[in-house]
Symmetry: C2
């Protein structure tokens, strides 16, 4: 049994997760704190959440046993380019009692590694946004989409919510009654399924309900589309099918047809048992019939595995993947 | 020769225009002032611009000769619903020396009347945004789109600019070289046609160039698409064709196939001699082969005509349209 411990962190927009794990895969501690993305929250706050999660994970661990660490976060490149951000993270690392170095990886690489051990493959993440990345020698190589809600995120949760509202507005413009999906959107945004006698009043109310919130919150309507599709609504099913095709097309920008490396699916819209996950799987099987399809799992554990790979005593890093990461089936 | 004078105003986001005209169509004065849309600028400022334009138009006119007036403006319904806004406009009207009443019309109705005298028809306006409206008894009846850049404006200047940037980002994601339209967009947004050695750096620079400005400014890229299409670029031509089809589809939401009433085309993208105007005309001739296609013209004069219609001495208001409005051929 290994006495060597590695630490991994997965820093997301809404939560930060930390894990301390031995090279045998024994979990010595886990920690969870608030959102810590330095791009959206500022490096100082992000570092504070990082420290809180680290302290929980290390509560029962002698920090001197920790020999390597890694942090996965969105906008990793920007953190590394910003001396103040890097210093804030360094200070948090030392404040947790750690003396080993740590690496910083993009969240897409960590999501990939949470589902596959192969050094080459592809990750597709769809949640509020959407991004695909090609992984080469366990580094992010080429990227597709991830352009944000205004210019990209095609097939994402934002896209689904956006399309659902547009369809409803078009139906109201023509004077038609909203369909099942339309009624779900109408109820969420106006509190009622009722259309005003002067239809344009309902149209105006919908537009105002959306535009008085940050646009990205349209992603909150995505579950309505997923639910409508799951309930057999044809409009919901059509939008889900389009989103699946869009996401597969995004992957195709960076992945040749017939590629046989693993394709890892991550993000809230693809890791659950949802119609969109089914749609993406179907598209993927058609374009890459011989590629293993994997689900992203525990990002913090994947970061710990990425850290462990570089230790001198690790001669077969791939063999450590299953015990440390325990990827989903 | 009629001694009766009517006053018309066209209040737009970037300029306010006023005209004083006799029932014979003699132009006694015109005025121009800054943008006066009360929704975007506040009612007090809008009323100030209104007064400035009115005073110029009435410089050589005895205000007692003015027997009727009308104001066309976007968000007319909101102005009428807001007592403070209505009071500000009333005060400006009286400050110009006018004692007759005035009517307030939506800008879409005034745009329609600037191109057609028939009491029933359709107006399609495409500029930064896009909206279509059915006119019935010279009132706005049903409306399609006009939902703003986030949720609508399909086929508008915003839409063209947005699509042009998306196409460029997709091309860069795949590792391809930008085409003619892509190079135009790249140059406008980054100052150079050069793609960085690490393509993602150019992608990030483009996304940042767009997202640090208000989204609606994507409409400023529309002329690049129009120019590319006019120069024979296939991508530009394809986008223009799609925009034309989208705009015709918007009209179809409120106008039955085969309708023979006039269809008036307004807005900067449709009143010039542009490929988009050609595309919309082609779509319109296909869907409504027997409908007269007209161009929107002088909105202030059209407002004056709408005002004149209700005067007791006017027995044939349609006959006044040509002399007062002088619609484009």
């Amino acid at each position: 049994m290994s006495s060597t411990v590695v630490v991994g962190l997965d820093v997301g927009g809404t939560s930060t997760r930390a894990i301390a794990v031995t090279l045998d895969g024994e979990r010595l501690g886990v920690g969870r704190a608030g959102g810590g993305n330095p791009t959206s929250h500022g490096a100082a706050r992000a570092a504070g959440e990082l420290l809180a999660a680290l302290r929980q994970a290390l509560a029962d661990v002698d920090p001197d046993r920790v020999r390597a660490g890694a942090i996965g976060l969105a906008g990793a490149g920007r953190l590394l380019a910003d001396p103040a951000g890097r210093t804030a993270f360094d200070d948090a690392w030392r404040a947790a009692g750690l003396r080993c170095p740590y690496a910083v990886h993009g969240d897409a690489l960590v999501a990939y590694a949470s589902g596959a051990a192969s050094p080459a493959g592809t990750i597709l993440v769809a949640g509020t946004g959407a991004i695909a990345a090609r992984v080469h020698e366990l580094r992010l190589d080429r990227i597709a989409d991830g352009h944000g809600w205004l210019l990209g995120d095609i097939g994402s949760g934002f896209w689904l919510g956006h399309q659902a509202v547009r369809r409803l507005l078009a139906a109201l413009d023509t004077g038609g009654d909203p369909d099942d999906l339309g009624r779900r959107v109408l109820t969420r945004l106006t509190g009622s399924t009722e259309v005003a006698a002067r239809t344009r009043d309902t149209v105006d109310a919908l537009v105002q309900a959306v535009t008085r919130r940050p646009p990205v919150e349209l992603a909150r309507l995505a579950p309505l589309v997923v639910d409508a599709a799951a309930a057999g609504d044809p409009a919901g099913a059509a939008l889900i099918g389009q989103a699946g095709a869009h996401l597969a097309a995004t992957v195709s920008r960076i992945r040749p047809a017939g590629d046989t490396t693993p394709l890892v699916l991550g993000g809230g819209l693809l890791t659950g048992d949802t119609p969109l996950a089914d749609a993406v799987r179907a598209e993927a099987r058609r374009r890459w019939p011989d590629a293993p399809l994997r689900l992203a799992g525990d990002g913090a554990a994947a970061a710990a595995w990425l850290a462990a790979r570089d230790l001198p005593e690790v001669t077969d890093p791939t063999a450590l993947h299953a015990p440390i990461v325990r990827p989903p089936a």
